[in-house]
């Protein structure tokens, strides 16, 4: 099952890469609210979550170290 999901993911990416979105077509993609990374204002909540929760990482924030938190 996991392998199928992985293959599906790779397939979607591979298919989408066949029809690349041109630079002049990226008006919506370049909207500031479409950014994939974490916004600067969100750093504080990511930090307190890293302190209060056992898990961290894969969100652009802390993964561990740098503080006496988890």
């Amino acid at each position: 099952m996991k392998l199928k999901v992985l293959l599906l993911g790779i397939g979607i990416i591979a298919l989408s890469s066949c029809s690349a979105v041109k630079e002049y077509e990226k008006v919506y993609i370049n909207d500031p609210d479409m950014v994939l990374g974490q916004k600067k204002i969100d750093r504080f909540e990511t930090n307190f979550q890293a302190y209060r929760e056992a898990s961290a990482g894969a969100n652009g924030g802390k993964t561990g170290g740098g503080c006496g938190c988890n």
Partner: protein
């Protein structure tokens, strides 16, 4: 004679034509050369990665309350407030390179930390649900991080290097790392690899009543046990040995894959693998055993031991984002993460945010986040552990629970940067409020604000 004249005229005409042809060729050559040069110039023209210096002034205020403080063995006040001003300065060093300096402090007051020493001699008797006035009731964490990034001429390759230093009274951290990013497929696909190392060190602080049992201490003959009558078990003899480690190292490796799917849809997949070793417990967090008789001073139960956790932890986090531009008003931003580690914890995080553009200048950001986690193998609540165990903690941050977080934000954007202070134009203002609540009883409020300035 006429024929000769005609022949001479033909020769002259041919020579003139040849010269004209040669001149045309030269002009054409120059034109082509110029054009080629111009084309080369076009090819090598590049937009600056960052046009001018940007400054972000950010701050947050956080407060929480709950009754499962880890410092008092899973039972006691968790009241805490934290104020964190931060400044981030991004400086373009040239067309390709950007230096970012990120500095901030986090000043907190913590009722539970204050009870590292609850015997402050104040008017109130020592009590895990009442804050003390000792030195550990507040602290300041300071951090300085420098990041240098270099982009290739075609902007398809990006290198970054990072150095960081942070410190607070009982904790010091030195970190370094870097990342390599490659864009291809007309910048529709991006792959990024990153690695970070943190070399941290504790200043060991034990709960006050355990300090007489450290090397050179007076044990039960210490002043503390003479100054206050012991209630319950009068033969207080904790099962306590000093921790043998002060350092805590963290090594992380991350992979990030981003993809533009359509003109309105893009997503990313991130994987972080983290290995930590050293002292992974917190030295001043108490544990009370169910099979040991209890001893009190006033209303405060004396520790049976400090929490003990393995010296290694391997964590794996896999997160995915999917953003969809619905129309000129709404954008859908979604996030999901699965986390697992070798302490027995697994968790799911789901987050959705729907930016609503109510005008050209104002955007609203309602958001909701759900989180749940299973308990660590080493967690049990107050008096639930046995002294025969190797590892134990009553830190509810490592317990099983679920949490809901509701957020609301507002952003003001001025693309003309009309408001100016000292040569810096105000580009945007962000405000955000979050309410966090988990089913163990802990709740928190957080408000954050940010001003983004750009040099004019």
């Amino acid at each position: 004679m006429e024929e000769k004249l005609a022949e001479v005229a033909a020769v002259i005409k041919f020579k003139v034509m040849r010269k004209t042809y040669s001149l045309r060729c030269s002009i054409l050559f120059i034109l082509i050369t110029s054009l080629t040069y111009a084309q080369d110039s076009t090819a090598t023209y590049k937009k600056r990665v960052l046009e001018s210096t940007e400054v972000d002034l950010l701050a947050s205020y956080y407060s929480q309350e709950g009754n499962n403080a880890a410092v008092t063995g899973g039972l006691g006040t968790e009241e805490l407030t934290d104020a964190a001003p931060t400044i981030v300065i991004s400086i373009p060093m040239n067309d390709d390179d950007v230096l970012t300096i990120d500095g901030g402090i986090s000043a907190y007051t913590s009722a539970s930390s204050s009870n590292v020493n609850p015997f402050d001699g104040g008017d109130n008797p020592a009590d895990p649900f009442v804050a003390s006035t000792g030195a550990s009731s507040n602290d300041v964490w300071g951090n300085l991080t420098g990041t240098y990034s270099h982009s290739s001429d075609d902007r398809n390759t990006i290198w970054t290097g990072k150095l960081s230093f942070s410190t607070e009274y009982d904790y010091t951290s030195f970190g370094f790392g870097g990342s390599f990013t490659k864009l291809f497929n007309e910048k529709n696909t991006e792959i990024s690899l990153n690695g970070n190392v943190y070399l941290d060190s504790w200043k060991i602080i034990y709960p006050f009543e355990l300090r007489p049992f450290t090397e050179g201490g007076q044990g039960i003959n210490d002043f503390l046990f003479n100054a206050y009558p012991l209630l319950g078990n009068a033969n207080y003899d904790p099962q306590f040995t000093e921790l043998g480690e002060k350092r805590r190292n963290s090594y992380s490796l991350g992979l990030n894959l981003s993809q533009i799917f359509t003109q309105r849809l893009q997503g990313s997949l991130a994987v972080d693998l983290v290995l930590q070793d050293g002292l992974l417990s917190t030295p001043f967090q108490r544990v009370y055993f169910g099979n040991v008789e209890d001893t009190f001073i006033q209303n405060f139960q004396l520790a049976d031991d400090v929490e003990r956790l393995p010296s290694e932890r391997l964590k794996l986090a896999i997160g995915g984002r999917l953003n969809y531009y619905l129309n000129e008003i709404f954008v859908l931003r979604s996030y999901y993460r699965f986390y697992i580690d070798d302490w027995g914890i697994s968790s799911h995080t789901a987050n959705i945010e729907v930016p609503v553009k109510i005008s050209q200048s104002f955007t609203l950001y309602p958001s909701y986040r759900y989180y749940n986690q299973s308990a660590s193998d080493y967690f049990a609540g107050y008096e639930q552990h046995f002294s025969t165990g190797d590892f134990y903690t009553s830190d509810f941050d490592l317990s099983e629970y679920n949490a809901n977080q509701f957020g609301f934000g507002l952003k003001y954007t001025d693309i003309f940067t009309r408001f100016n202070i000292g040569g810096f134009g105000l580009k945007s203002i962000d405000l955000k409020y979050n309410y966090y609540e988990r089913n163990t009883g802990l709740s928190a409020n957080m408000i954050a604000g940010g001003f983004n300035f750009v040099m004019q």
